[in-house]
């Protein structure tokens, strides 16, 4: 299959659903690392900032949350770490996990423990 392009900036703040269609949060951050010649994505952060986005102060609200709640938001306190192979980007309008929320929780905790 031919390669496809995705505009990352348009995915930011989009709703993410799990494989059963349950909303788990919004795409907050994308992490990349070097792999040979290329830089590749290895992890997404899906956070709880859903409500704040309505005020369009999404990023700011998030930052303030982090300020007061230290790094908990980022460290999976209420958000999730999603490995690259668990998030399907093929339809940018509908970001879906390849697993269910419960499975994601286990994966996320495992990643946390590894750090």
């Amino acid at each position: 299959m031919a390669s496809r392009e995705v505009h990352l900036e348009l995915l930011l703040g989009k709703e993410v659903l799990d494989s059963t269609g349950q909303e788990i949060g919004r795409l907050e951050e994308v992490q990349a690392k070097q792999s040979g010649e290329d830089w590749v994505i290895y992890e997404y952060l899906v956070g709880p900032a859903a409500r704040l986005e309505r005020l369009s102060a999404w990023a700011l609200g998030l930052a303030i949350l982090r300020l007061f709640g230290a790094h908990k938001v980022r460290r999976g306190y209420k958000g999730y770490r999603v490995p690259w192979d668990q998030l399907d980007l093929t339809n940018p309008e509908k970001l879906r996990l390849n697993c269910s929320l419960d499975e994601l929780k286990t994966i996320s905790e495992k990643l946390e423990a590894e750090d």
Partner: protein
């Protein structure tokens, strides 16, 4: 450069920048209508603006980033677009009001109606920006701005009662006209806490290549310079309270304000009032025009710099060129300058929350300010200022309708 000289220059720079059409107009109106009772508003506004200007400078010195750059980079375009549009809109109104102030000053002296001066004044502003450097603008205008000290001298000559002055330091409500009183208080705060100062100051700091060594200098400039400007505002308020208030003259137009120094200094008093108004507004007009070009260029990552030749920063230079002439049109069609001033001060307060809120994040973000993060005192003042900004934004419009 010698550090003391640097501080002295910096302080001088900020004096001219602090006093503008809004500060003069609101202080004159406050003094003429409520005597000393609104002194607290000037003091409160000064404290807020000192802290915010200090933070803008510290951000620039520690991160080499201007405030506008930092907000877009840290929060992304979908948040930044709010303060950006708000700021450009407010800059437009304020610039028109500043141009109006210069035009009125010329009208006072020559008798030729202010409308006729709109385009010549706009041209003078533009040619200075086009040909001049940042150093020339900062130092030239603020040196001339020392003329506004005339209000402080007048205060001493008029011997105000210190106990009555002291009573104005604490906020009190008047027995009547409460809404109008509060409206003027809000306008004073809107005039002193001008968002353009923060963007302009941080851009100037980056253009002057500030680094960590300037952290201390910056603190001095913000504190002494802004405090000094506030003393001049207080001078305007006190003179208006002593000269106009007892007679029952309420400042509804600049012509009335122009009388406040004639009893103390005679003909020169009149000329000095016009000169103070004209120079302060001219300086502020230069800063507001530059500010707009700065933030637009920084939004899109264009090359920018007042000291660059226009062809080195074509889009930047074009922004201020178009902006200055567009703003002067508001004066050309004859909108009343004082009404426009008060109106734009009220609108300014509406834009304060999205402009000030990002400080809280940026000034605590290690990746920007590193070890120069806010301490608990600066954070407390900042949170207080943000709360104040929200209150002002909420009450400004109802007050304008009922009391303005």
């Amino acid at each position: 450069m010698n550090k003391i000289l640097m501080i002295a220059l910096g302080i001088l720079t900020s004096i001219g920048g602090f006093l503008d059409v809004g500060a003069i107009a609101t202080a004159a109106e406050a003094g003429s209508e409520f005597g000393y009772q609104l002194i607290w508003a000037i003091l409160l506004g000064t404290i807020c603006v000192i802290f915010l200007v200090e933070m803008s400078g510290r951000l620039a010195a520690a991160s080499k980033h201007t405030l506008a750059d930092a907000i877009r980079e840290r929060f992304g375009i979908s948040f930044y677009i709010i303060p950006l549009i708000a700021e450009v809109f407010v800059d437009f109104l304020v610039l028109a009001a500043e141009i109006g102030g210069v035009c009125i000053a010329l009208q006072l002296v020559t008798g030729i109606s202010f409308q006729w001066w709109a385009l010549p004044v706009a041209f003078a502003i533009w040619i200075l920006l086009w040909k001049g450097t940042l150093g020339l603008i900062e130092n030239g205008i603020s040196t001339l701005g020392l003329i506004t000290l005339v209000f402080v001298f007048a205060t001493f000559k008029l011997h105000p009662s210190l106990t009555q002055l002291g009573a104005g330091i604490l906020p009190t409500l008047p027995r009547e006209d409460v809404t109008h009183y509060l409206f003027i208080a809000v306008s004073i705060l809107g005039a002193l806490i001008s968002p353009y100062l923060f963007y302009f100051y941080s851009s100037g700091a980056v253009e002057d290549k500030w680094d960590e060594e300037y952290i201390g200098v910056n603190r001095m400039i913000a504190g002494v310079g802004m405090g000094f400007g506030s003393i001049v505002s207080l001078g305007v308020l006190i003179v208006a309270a002593l000269v106009l208030h007892p007679k029952g003259i309420q400042v509804d137009s600049y012509e009335q304000a122009a009388l406040m120094l004639t009893e103390t200094f005679g003909y020169w008093g009149f000329i000095l009032f016009a000169a103070s108004l004209g120079i302060a507004c001219f300086g502020a007009a230069l800063e507001v025009s530059l500010d707009t070009a700065y933030i637009v260029a920084q939004t899109f990552g264009w090359n920018w710099g007042e000291s660059l030749h226009p062809k080195e920063a074509a889009r930047f230079s074009l922004v201020y060129t178009v902006f200055v002439f567009l703003a002067s049109l508001l004066m050309l069609v004859g909108i009343d300058p004082l009404q426009l001033t008060l109106f734009s001060m009220a609108i300014t307060t509406l834009t304060l929350p999205p402009v000030i809120l990002p400080f809280l994040v940026l000034m605590n973000d290690k990746s920007y300010v590193g070890e120069y993060r806010n301490g608990w005192i600066t954070n407390s003042v900042l949170i207080f200022t943000i709360a104040l900004a929200f209150i002002l934004a909420i009450v400004a419009i109802p007050l304008e309708i009922i009391g303005g």
